[in-house]
């Protein structure tokens, strides 16, 4: 694999600053979502510590919103756990895709870095960098995680003070970030554009029949299978 050719010592020491910088859009995107989570947690009767503990331990927006819903409707622990597992299975795919790019070989470090793999950190990490130093990935994940946890707490404590129009407007933030990642790549490679559009359409169709978590997984797998490779080593230009 290409990793053998990279000077791992150099790569591992650097990248922290770039990781933080690349993480800022994620952190900004998480903040309003986390605040919304905090607000909702309060409204379904969680206390402050329960609200923030869930964000600290789970760090997964979709699962946490779903859990609030399920708690509010009195669903039992077993079902909540099963639903959470299903929704998070998509991370298996993302982690599998990131794994060869992660330079750290020590299992402890890899175990630590695994904790911060979300839709957003995965998307930024896999699109922005060819190989992932521990400093880069760690910093990217840390700033995102901090925003998520602090935003949850802030939402619980003070979210009600933000004007509602602005809160609602910020819902677009994460999507704008995804678009900001995909569009420049699509300009360079028709294939990327085709895969992205295909996955979106498939997701729209599948979402009518199966849950959102499953629809994203299935649409991504199908689109990635239906289009031949985008070249070796994760390079984005046409072959």
């Amino acid at each position: 694999m290409g990793v053998d050719n990279v000077d791992i010592r150099v790569m591992n020491g650097s990248g922290i600053k770039k990781g933080f910088l690349d993480g800022i859009p994620i952190a900004l995107g998480y903040w309003p979502v986390a605040m919304a989570y905090g607000l909702l947690a309060k409204s379904v009767g969680l206390n402050f510590f329960e609200c923030t503990t869930m964000s600290v331990m789970v760090f997964a927006g979709a699962s946490q919103f779903m859990t609030l819903n399920l708690i509010a409707s009195g669903v039992g622990m077993g079902e909540i756990a099963a639903a959470v597992f299903l929704v998070n299975l998509r991370h298996l795919l993302m982690s599998l895709s990131l794994s060869p790019k992660v330079l750290a070989q020590h299992r402890g470090i890899r175990a630590l870095l695994s904790f911060g793999i979300t839709d957003e950190t995965f998307a930024v990490a896999s699109v922005k960098e060819k190989y992932l130093s521990s400093g880069y990935l760690g910093a990217l994940e840390l700033i995102s995680y901090s925003s998520w946890v602090l935003g949850s707490a802030a939402g619980f404590a003070a979210g009600a003070f933000l004007p509602e129009t602005l809160q609602e407007s910020m819902g677009i933030a994460l999507y704008a970030m995804f678009i900001g990642l995909l569009v420049p790549l699509s300009k360079k490679s028709r294939k990327v554009l085709f895969i992205g559009v295909l996955a979106g359409i498939l997701n729209g169709i599948l979402g009518l029949f199966i849950s959102k978590g499953w629809a994203v997984i299935a649409a991504a797998i199908l689109a990635a299978l239906m289009v031949p490779g985008t070249g070796e080593g994760g390079e984005n230009h046409d072959e």
Partner: protein, 101 residues
């Protein structure tokens, strides 16, 4: 009354396992070229699926999602910084809401 902290701990585990399994258990796994090509496609496919159709419902009414999405596409097309894309999109939705609501 269920123990919520126990629930959160279990949720944490069930979230962590799919994230960690490939990275920790299969770090050096050799991949068939087919699998490698497939995995190379995954980020773009996931991005596409995450954007659509979710973006439509992300800012209240569908047309606000469309406005925000189109502004983001336009800014991203000119390869502006990601922060500019995000801020511009939020701003566009905010002004659209001020004007239209």
């Amino acid at each position: 009354m269920m123990n919520k902290y126990l629930l959160f701990f279990i949720m944490g585990l069930l979230t962590y396992i799919p994230r960690a399994l490939p990275l920790v258990v299969l770090p050096g796994a050799k991949m068939a070229p087919f699998l490698k090509r497939f995995l190379n496609n995954i980020p773009y496919a996931v991005l596409g699926a995450l954007i659509f159709p979710g973006v439509l419902y992300s800012a209240g009414e569908v047309y606000f999602g469309i406005i925000g999405g189109l502004v983001a596409v336009l800014l991203a097309f000119f390869e502006l910084n990601l922060l500019v894309v995000v801020a511009g999109s939020i701003g566009a939705v905010y002004f659209a809401k001020l004007l239209l609501l």
